[in-house]
Symmetry: C2
Subunit: 408 residues, 2 copies
């Protein structure tokens, strides 16, 4: 009798969903397709020569350490550098309040592992980061979405949600937000909403998970202080990464939180992978210590701002009336809304046929909404590809515009 | 009101235990202590020059790829090399039956995530790998221990356990074994027990998780084929690693299993960390493609065999009658039993004071046994340290020998 695989799976495995983005990425590696679907940095921003010099030096001088197992908490030098790096944003953490993670995704998984039981509640933004939904779902929690507007999560609706839960004797384990140039909306949370969010978290006795991978990629002005800088109680768990400012291939990210929570995350990470690679951590530590990380953000921002502007201009040129999009002040993504009734999921195979790809909006919605929306990435494609890709996209949108929208 | 951290923790977090080994490792970094507690490879075995040359070449030629995000499944070239590497042991997998993991520890966690629900049963060896106990415990399963002897897990007792469970209408999700130079016992499972284990797994409808990090480190003869090579049904999930044959600092390990299971592990890994670092994977792939991995095992084996022999000789010289130890044919560890009634946990602080450290046997026992046992590592300390460390250990053991044992 052949094995029945299914019967061995855990309840968690049964609800896991594969990332649409990552599945799609495979399709779009086919030649001729312009992909706005990924979230990849532009490889032209990778500091290849610096990494090469540092790796060589490390292997010459301390191969015994960088090729060996390391502490679960992460390389001590790197943690010290991360403390300095966060201080410039007003986050004052000690080394013991920092844990190095394998990408921010591991931070999200740690948050799930340490806090979430089946049936727990988690509050997320509408829309929110797709892979956060994916991992929280695997812990079989109930996700409650709170809509954003141009200034981030709406605090009036957050309060309503918290009050409704409280009336049922429930409270969420945490509120998950991306305050700076959020993925996918590109929105930045306003200063007063940040303060309000922390007040509400305190009032209703819940935690805040701040996912902040894009803060450095700021094209205009400066975002308000991170939630972690405003937090006075240890209520915020802060996640950040060097994937966008150094490169993703080292998978260097980190969590900052109270010592108590970090201790628990370290215990959980011991069971997950013992430790991150020592070599990649040492490269990142030296990269920071040499000051490179501080000096290179300007050029990345310059490049991405230009690409964003190219995409905004192309959208203005190519999109029919009734289509709207965000004007992000930083980050990697634009959020496009088609007229009500249009369905970006049904449109996607046609778009891929036409040679352009995006991510469907519903993937970012805990409530099944966003069917007429799509996320576009502008960091990876070249400016020429952005122009041609948006042209193709415009053609398809026009073709599928419902009669009602066309007559408007 | 200050935050009550505890109230936020998941049921899983509440049962997580911190690794005794890793905590102890920190203590033993103090000067003057000879540590037999870790499981670190000897840094003299690290192929520093080869890694340096490969890293430089990769950064020169394909920085765009090795510093970018990669597929969750792992670097395709590396998976092809792993297929070849396993073929020499009779394991015939396709690329789609291989998933690159961040250390074998991530493989263990994936096995937990994909298969285990609270209350499930898992069968482990007595003793077994401590960090496997740690991670399976975090899934709140019931662990049933089956004693080993010098030929590995006892099949008569395994059958008894399976039959007892079956009478209660239960069956374990899997049987977890380390057939080659097991951590911590050093025992190798005999050929006929391997066949019998697979037969029993089939008869009782369960899976086998084969953790095989030490197979290459074979000092005498050759171990029987891996369970994965004998498996005809896709019932074995095979875990292996380059941590002991290349170096641990790249954290390159992998799972081989049926395509169906690998697909589910990939889905779970997406939520855990998206992907392993591209740079470290590419280094490992090139290291294999150049043939280095095939040519270096001999020198490592030579070095570790000498260290094992030094430890065996020292134990013979220094230990009082009534103390016994295993004679492993490979791997990194020896297992020492003191006379009944002695307690290695109570003795440990005194040993550390005396300048020598080990891991207490109870940490490797799912049933709380092993109180009079200890695990000694011989791969990391130098031969001089092994001699001096065992001398110190012998002194302490003699001092704490119970009167009953002394008079024997």
């Amino acid at each position: 009798m052949p094995l029945d695989w299914q019967e061995f799976y855990s309840a968690s495995a049964r609800v896991m969903t594969r990332s649409l983005i990552r599945e799609l990425l495979k399709l779009t590696r086919r030649g001729g397709i312009i992909s706005f679907a990924g979230g990849l940095p532009d490889p032209a921003t990778f500091p290849v020569e610096e990494i090469k010099a540092i790796a060589t030096r490390l292997l010459d001088r301390e191969a015994n350490l960088v090729l060996q197992y390391g502490p679960t908490e992460g390389d001590a030098r790197l943690r010290d550098e991360l403390v300095k790096w966060m201080a410039k944003d007003g986050i004052h953490a000690s080394r013991d309040q920092v844990l190095v993670t394998l990408g921010s995704q591991q931070g999200l998984d740690l948050v799930g592992r340490v806090f979430l039981d089946p049936g727990d509640h988690v509050i997320v933004e509408l829309p929110t980061y797709m892979a956060a939904l994916q991992v929280f779902r695997s812990y079989r929690v109930e996700m409650l979405g709170v809509p954003q507007d141009g200034s981030g999560m709406r605090m009036d609706l957050l309060e309503e949600t918290l009050a409704r839960l409280a009336r049922d004797g429930r409270r969420p384990k945490f509120i998950y937000v991306g305050p700076d140039f959020q993925n996918p909306s590109g929105a930045t949370m306003s200063d007063d909403r940040r303060t309000r969010l922390l007040d509400l978290a305190q009032q209703y006795g819940t935690l805040v998970v701040e996912d902040n991978p894009y803060r450095e990629l700021c094209f205009e002005g400066a975002p308000p202080p991170p939630l972690a800088a405003l937090d006075r109680e240890g209520r915020v768990i802060y996640l950040s990464t060097f994937s966008k400012t150094l490169c993703p291939g080292l998978r260097i990210a980190w969590m900052a939180a109270s010592e108590e929570f970090i201790r628990q995350f370290v215990t959980a990470k011991q069971g997950m992978d013992l430790c991150c690679p020592a070599l990649t951590q040492a490269i990142a530590a030296e990269f920071c210590a040499a000051g490179h990380i501080y000096h290179r953000v300007g050029a990345i921002v310059e490049r991405y701002r230009r690409k964003r502007d190219t995409m905004l201009a192309a959208l203005s040129r190519e999109m029919p009336p009734g289509v709207t999009w965000t004007h992000p002040h930083g980050g990697l993504f634009l959020w496009v809304r088609l007229p009500e009734g249009m369905d970006t999921e049904r449109m996607l195979p046609l778009a891929v046929e036409e040679g352009v790809a995006y991510v469907v909006g519903s993937g970012f919605h805990a409530d099944g909404g966003g069917r007429n929306a799509m996320r576009l990435n502008f960091s990876f494609p070249s400016e020429a590809e952005i122009e041609e890709g948006v042209r193709r996209l415009g053609r398809i949108v026009k073709k599928h515009l419902p009669a009602t929208a066309r007559t408007k």
